[in-house]
């Protein structure tokens, strides 16, 4: 049996082991590959930079722990940038677990910038209803949001009182892992109320968003962990995304090698026939 025939019967546990090494080794021994900045990510950065201090950014954490590895680093980077610019952050989630992950990032970063709950940021928790809820929300926040995630009446919070409708928002930033998520914000919130939308999505969702980037309905995009890593470079922050880039690079290279090997085996088998 020659090498190619042996490879064609490669045990999948060997593949699993190689992937595990490709993930773990660069984390223990970082390579520090250079991270380039793509246009969609730069546009998100520029949009936040262009907002006047005191503007309100609605941060919609539309993901759950399953996508935490890809989207949580982006959440931290965006929150950090907003606080540096003295923007106010209004957190909500279209997914039940999203707002808790938003809280995790807020509680970590807000004290560093002396930001206070109620005046500089609030979290109104999970909001069910998807598209229909967003249509109502843009018209009148008071109809939909009466309390924050802890049950505090929204009118008792300065930032809660400040947001009456979509007109009070400078930007919507959605961190989206699926449905409901970024498409709902673009189709129902931006189209109806004209609020600019930026997004961070899982890598698998990113290609579809280029349709909306091209049309201008989406201002900018952070696609997957790479997008988050680019943003960390822009805001000069060494976070989990930048650290994870080496692992992701090696795994991608490994996958490319697997694909090439698979096709060499295919050609070999065709040749034999």
């Amino acid at each position: 049996m020659n090498l190619i025939e042996r490879l064609s019967h490669l045990d999948r546990r060997v593949i699993f082991l190689l992937v595990a090494f490709a993930v773990v080794i660069p984390m223990l021994q970082p390579i520090g590959l250079p991270i380039d900045i793509t246009k969609p990510v730069k546009k998100v950065y520029d949009k936040i930079e262009s907002l006047a201090p005191g503007s309100i950014v609605l941060l919609s954490t539309d993901f759950d722990p399953g996508s935490e590895a890809e989207l949580y680093p982006a959440t931290e980077a965006i929150i950090e940038h907003c606080f540096r610019k003295n923007l106010k952050i209004y957190v909500m989630g279209l997914w039940p677990a999203g707002s808790d992950l938003g809280n995790l990032a807020l509680n970590k970063i807000a004290p560093r910038y002396n930001k206070n709950y109620g005046t500089d940021y609030i979290n109104v928790g999970y909001r069910p209803g998807g598209a229909v809820m967003l249509l109502s929300l843009g018209k009148n926040f008071g109809d939909i949001i009466k309390v924050d995630y802890q049950g505090t009446p929204i009118d008792l919070l300065e930032l809660g009182r400040a947001v009456k409708s979509s007109k009070n928002l400078g930007l919507v930033m959605t961190l989206s892992a699926g449905d409901p998520g970024i498409l709902h914000w673009i189709i129902y919130f931006h189209a109806r109320y004209g609020v600019p939308i930026c997004g961070a999505t899982t890598a698998i969702m990113a290609p579809q968003q280029y349709t909306y980037l091209g049309s201008g309905q989406l201002v900018g995009l952070l696609g997957g962990l790479k997008g988050a890593a680019e943003y960390e470079v822009l805001v000069n922050r060494k976070g989990r995304a930048s650290i994870g880039m080496d692992s992701q690079s090696i795994v991608h290279v490994l996958l490319v090698i697997f694909i090439l090997l698979g096709n060499i085996i295919l050609l070999h088998q065709k040749g034999k026939r």
Binding site: G66, D100, G129, G151, I259
Partner: protein, 207 residues
Amino acid sequence: MKRTLPLIIVAGSGFFMLVAFFIPSKFFQDTSQTFQNWYIGVAAFFVFIGILNLVKINIEKIQRKLRDWRYCYILLFFLAFTMATGFIQGREGKAFLYMFYNFQTPLGATMFSLLAFFMASATFRAFRAKTPEATILLIAALLVMLGRIPVGYWIWHNYPDLVEWIMTGPNTAAKRGILFGIDLGLISMALRVLLGIERSYMGGGGE
């Protein structure tokens, strides 16, 4: 009557919402807002239906001793325990948050991460250039995979621009075509529902 009444409600409310979207009068806007608020209330109730369904399915599995039925005990125990901590201590309760951040978050991330291993195995066994179309897809995938990581930039500084062109050009063109198709299908399906032609949502097929 059992089928006619739901059809009248669906058609009436559906056409009303359609008309209200284009007419900015107070009556239409206020009424459509009320309908939307009702929907949000119903949507919130779906969570309870989901929980009831989950409990029902798992109890049935235990009773019938179906495959992996013992795991159902773990699921039901943690469901009850998490709900109890949430109700007793509130959303900011120590036990509730501890379980969310230390159980649910890492477990959820782990489940999703396992995909990387199966994906690697699948790329080796299934991603093969058997036809000209598959070959084009494969070449595009290889280019994008390398261009979407720092290695691409490291190989050639203009490589990410090439990938960006693939994403904004061919990718967007294909996606838009697919989206137009989906949206036309959605519009025709919505019309079928509003006109009472499509009745499968009431259960029991088209009749």
